[in-house]
Symmetry: C2
Subunit: 261 residues, 2 copies
């Protein structure tokens, strides 16, 4: 088989290149934005569709038997043992606001478990890859290992979330309480925060209401860097939900205790 000849790491590098070529020409331009949700603001850009098409074409070529789920174009071969999950532009609000904290997320599931993943940020030129063998970030041609911080205590933790407004009711109160117990908290990060946990610069991320494509590509980065990813409800994070990622199991448990009341 064609894919047996190439390391998965190299395939992810190709995916990052293809995604950058499709997305970057649309970044920092005036975009035609349509709203997917009548009640909210959920921009879909030409970049989203062009990028997902480019990634799907590459995966179809390399792994024709694998399933593919993408944010824009849905699922093919849902029963395949290996399935790819694509978010072409995670952080579309950042994207349309010119901020370089959006990313292209691609993950590979082996019977439902995320075993390999990638985040690429083409404006900074950085790529994060974990393929089951190597977990690295690459920028300007230099690689560094992905390694979570080892932080175990809330009082020493840097906590990130996309926006506190995404927490509803009791969950918001608990998140507010969590903020008072950490060293530093920060908003507005989307996928970038998870990559920073994998790289060891952030310690804890909680983002409620994520879809599978928001998180599958990131799980291998964090887990293969020594961190942990879970859901507040206890289910597998590959299925999305209220996601919590931490540098260590101890930190995860401490944050869980606050978030579950």
């Amino acid at each position: 088989m064609k894919n047996m000849a190439r390391p998965l790491f190299d395939v992810f590098l190709d995916i990052a290149d293809a995604a950058a070529a499709a997305s970057l020409p649309h970044f920092r331009t005036v975009l035609s934005v349509s709203n997917k949700l009548a009640e909210g603001f959920d921009p879909v850009t030409e970049a989203d569709t062009a990028t997902e098409r480019a990634i799907r074409a590459l995966i179809e070529s390399e792994f024709p038997e694998d399933g593919i789920l993408g944010e824009e174009f849905g699922m093919v071969r849902a029963d395949a043992p290996y399935r790819w999950v694509i978010d072409p532009i995670d952080g579309t609000r950042a994207f349309i606001s010119g901020l370089p904290v959006w990313g292209t997320l691609v993950g590979r599931l082996d019977r439902g478990k995320a075993v390999a993943g990638m985040m690429a940020q083409p404006f900074t030129g950085e790529v994060f890859i974990a393929d089951g063998t190597r977990a690295e970030r690459i920028w300007r041609g230099v690689s560094a290992p992905l390694k979570a911080s080892g932080c175990k205590r809330l009082s020493e933790a840097k906590l990130f979330t996309t926006s506190p407004h995404l927490f509803q009711g009791e969950l918001r109160k608990r998140f507010d309480a969590l903020e008072t117990q950490v060293r530093l908290f920060r908003y507005g990060t989307d996928c970038y925060a998870f990559a920073m946990v994998a790289a060891g610069f952030a310690d804890l991320v909680i983002d409620p209401g994520l879809k599978p494509y928001d998180i599958v590509g990131l799980i291998p980065l964090i887990e293969q860097a020594g961190g942990v990813v879970a859901t507040l409800a206890g289910g597998p994070p590959e299925e999305g939900g209220d996601i919590i990622a931490a540098a260590t199991p101890e930190l995860l448990n401490a944050a869980m205790a606050v978030m579950k009341g």
Copy 2:
């Protein structure tokens, strides 16, 4: 005089290079962080001091008669008609968290009015410069003019702030009200949000309690791109305070009306 021979734009490019050389080796490394404020978290890094030293040396060489105010090393020649204002690393929380939305800010005052300024983000490799003649952003060797969006209505505006927690009491209530009237709001941006107003990707930024060095370098970028910068209290933004920047005077007035109740 030496400085008469060189366009100010080129001096800013040199400053950006010197700042990148001083700051970037400290980014994405484990930093020695000391706390300036006993009660809060205000990291001072080696990057801060090294970067300000590099910028001061360059300004002293090019403009020996000008005054200089920097976040780390205070003021020299406070009575000079031209004074430079330096924030070596604006967004130190972003810096220590690995996020590429911090920046080096340098502005030049002419008798108290900000007439030229620069923001540089060396990890993305982007520089924003406005020298009174040219207002441009430069990335990977390509220049684009700085041009504010022209947005006049709150309902169409993208609003940014660093964190809603920075608004106290009545101001927080008014900011919360403002959020409900805009198209999109976003947190966690520091100086980057102001640069995005200058570049036309964001429309409105409100950040309370800024120091002069947090804003002086940014005012020329926004004003020379067609935008406006003011304080909620009505004083000159060069002196810091509760800063509001907008793509147009109309948008500024609409936001002011909400924030002043």
